[in-house]
Symmetry: C2
């Protein structure tokens, strides 16, 4: 029996992770703004002893394509993550809540406040997925002319995270006396103004809420560029990644953990959680049939739209869907390197147009494992025991159906193998993830001076 | 029996509205960040058929005074309003949620998003208390040199509210088809980009969430300067006010409703809700004893601090508490007009120093009614039936205790008189308040063109 346990998060894309999930009878088509759906899903994840649920986010609509593709996109109306998780905190007891929020478009004081609030509301179950926003078309919502360059975004992100952590430390853990008899509520000596003056922000502080139960909500990161990996190595306690092979995942795992020492951090202070989208059948054939059914729900307009960065949309419309792309096997000149990879893939696999877009759209670039609970557990175990993962970000293709199946079929299999908990260990998300509670920057330096 | 019904909101200042509430045994001293306390209070208000609960807010600490007064302030750590109400929406069914948020320090896209999210989460029970922020010491949290002037703040507020309403209309009510068979999720013709370019904001839109169930969350306003009244007349659907006499309240009621016609609005589209802080006893003597007990909990350092704008703090410290202020009855020269009013009051009432600060600190400038359920109902009825109020913002001095008493004793008395509902009428806050659901600015103009 393995002693080390897998960490599991559930990636809650409203109707499910698959691009056509909302058309599937196992989904809830209006779930982007259906609170009852989210309550059901979070309670299912908690029943399955998941560490956390996670929502992706972008502060603006990311739809693209012509009207024909656009009208078929299911992810165009959705809750703001922190309000969503605050609601679910009130109807759950153990599960953690990872909310995505942007360092490029939010304000550090307001963000520190809302995450501290979520941590108090949930009694220590909040986490912040720090993103610099991948969408390059939302800056107009914030009066900016353009999406800032990655270098600027990441520079701002480092300063932003530092400010937010400083604000969370405004009150010492033991600042509140609340002595009704003497009338002393708190100790002003244990309240600290941040007085931050930096390149991107000037923030006086202090924050108007006591130190979060977890000290700091857990910091999560999800970018895998060089800048993204440095941000993770410097500050993150969990990192999401998208890899489709063991080798890539291992290389990433070594890479990102190897960057931590220079920030004075130990490898176990950062959990690497690759995504896995499991398509579960009681037999391999049932699983394959499920996947085929899902892939068959991708409308050609949506599928062709995923190819729009490789071929002009007007040409795509004239393609025969069940034949190879017309200029296959001769790639056109002047196309970019990503397109070459795709065309190489299509050639190697002898894909028709439909098969090519199904491949690209169905997976969204993540690891899809189609099989029985046993084969899925096998693959997870392989990654977990071979330096590729500390756990997984489980991306149920259809919600609530695929999460129900995972909890009923895969979780017990992982438990039988001793790879996953059989009860929550702690009260807070940090305790369940096995992460330390950070000391305050104010008391920490006092302790270091004394040491 | 009166047909017109009172609207009631509960003002939820964590431990209670009284400045020393947290020292009272009927309060919950840590309630600023105690979610179980808020759940209890919201459920009590719902049991009492209140229209709404309300939280005040400031994006920064407002504490002031020397350390001796400071350490005794109970309101220094509290939830962010929208996350708090999102949590409570999940454990209630009928009550509305009024969250205060600042047009001076928040961002319109993010604010529109979080309130739309709260409205969806609560299935139509959200309201926004629009404030320009009264605290003049929080600008440093947002990188500003100074608190903007009132004129600038209100100019920004008008534009801010207009942008937020426009963003809420991004999707038409019937934009979502979600037809699983054909694969059409929504109609892009029913999605509108705002493309706002104004003096304070450039906001492209559209918002990434469907139109709120209420069309727009209810708009509430709480400033009573000239600028504040204009903002209310132009946009608010409910207004909070602080008056201590029938005459003042009547004048305000007429004034603010009289300003609406020039914005094309009818008086009944704005509910005037003055504050009332009820101190309830089964007899008049019991009520008076309760008030005296509360007033006696005001620590002299906190009490003297309320006089600090009239006398220098060093002098205050030398005052005899149970004698008249030392230079009474001769006011010092060069003090401001507000100080004159206070000194006049002290002279007229022959107040000692302690009585003077108890008067100022205990009421926070609001209307305190000390009496039996019958006398309290009498006063409310008097205001309600004589053009001073459409309902009240009930400010329980101690929480949860005073709200429990109000629900058990005053609500039934109001119901017996036919002044208050005996069951919720509608599903949404708007329906309960008797407010119309606003048409979208896009479909409204089409209708107007057709008319
Ligand atoms: C599982 C996962 C979830 C992510 N979620 C988001 C998200 O919600 N919002 C976002 O802007 N970026 C998100 N990202 C990050 C972007 O995809 C990221 O910007 C991209 O990987 C490019 O990396 P870079 O930002 O380091 O350049 C996510 C990444 C992964 C792997
Ligand atoms: C019941 C009530 C609640 C209020 N709540 C807040 C609040 O939470 N935050 C805030 O900044 N101002 C609040 N105000 C408004 C300020 O008190 C207001 O700024 C002040 O009345 C001065 O008016 P003016 O803003 O129109 O100048 C409230 C007012 C009342 C009467």
């Amino acid at each position: 029996m393995s002693q080390r346990k897998m960490r599991l998060g559930a990636f809650i894309m409203a109707t499910g992770h698959h691009v056509a999930a909302w058309r599937h009878p196992g989904s809830q088509a209006d779930s982007g703004t259906n609170i009852d759906h989210y309550i059901e899903v979070a309670q299912t994840a908690e029943r399955g002893l998941f560490d956390q649920v996670f929502v992706a986010d972008s502060p603006g609509l990311q739809y693209k394509g012509d009207d024909e593709a656009l009208r078929r996109q299911g992810r165009v109306s959705y809750f703001e993550p922190v309000t969503l998780w605050a609601a679910l905190a009130a109807v759950t007891k153990h599960i953690g809540f990872v909310a995505t929020a942007s360092t490029t478009y939010e304000d550090p004081y307001l963000l520190a406040r809302k995450f501290a609030s979520l941590d108090h509301i949930s009694k220590g179950r909040a986490a912040w997925n720090v993103v610099t926003t991948s969408a390059d078309n939302v800056h107009g919502n914030f009066g900016l002319e353009a999406h800032p360059d990655p270098a600027v975004r990441y520079e701002r992100a480092h300063e932003f995270v530092d400010v937010v952590k400083g604000l969370w430390d405004s009150y010492d853990d033991d600042a509140f006396l609340r002595d009704q008899a003497s009338g002393v509520y708190f100790d002003p000596q244990k309240l600290h103004a941040l007085n931050h003056v930096g390149k991107h922000f000037r923030v006086k502080g202090p924050l108007n809420i006591g130190r979060p139960p977890q000290g700091h909500p857990v910091i999560v990161q999800a970018g895998s560029s060089e800048d993204g990996k440095e941000l993770a190595a410097a500050t993150a306690e969990a990192i999401f990644a998208a890899w489709t092979s063991l080798g890539e995942a291992q290389a990433f795992y070594r890479d990102v953990k190897g960057r931590m020492a220079k920030y004075g951090r130990r490898p176990e202070q950062l959990l690497v959680l690759p995504g896995i989208s499991p398509v579960i059948g009681r037999t391999e054939d049932e699983a394959k049939a499920k996947w085929a059914e899902l892939q068959g729900l991708i409308h050609p307009a949506v599928g062709l739209n995923t190819l729009a960065s490789f071929w002009p949309i007007a040409e795509l419309r004239r393609f025969e869907l069940d034949a190879p792309p017309p200029w296959y096997p001769e790639p056109p000149k002047g196309i970019n390197s990503r397109a070459h990879v795709v065309i190489e893939l299509a050639r190697r696999e002898k894909f028709t147009v439909r098969q090519l877009y199904e491949y690209l759209a169905g997976a969204r670039g993540h690891w899809v494992v189609v099989g029985t609970p046993q084969t899925i557990a096998d693959r997870m175990q392989e990654w977990f025991e071979n330096g590729a993962a500390d756990g997984f970000n489980v991306m149920p293709p259809v919600l609530p159906q695929s999460l129900n199946e995972f909890v009923e079929l895969v979780v017990p299999e992982l438990q039988r193998r001793g790879l996953f908990r059989t009860a929550y260990e702690g009260r807070t998300l940090r305790e369940n993830l096995g992460l330390e509670r950070p000391a305050s920057r104010y008391t920490a330096s006092a302790q270091e001076l004394a040491a």
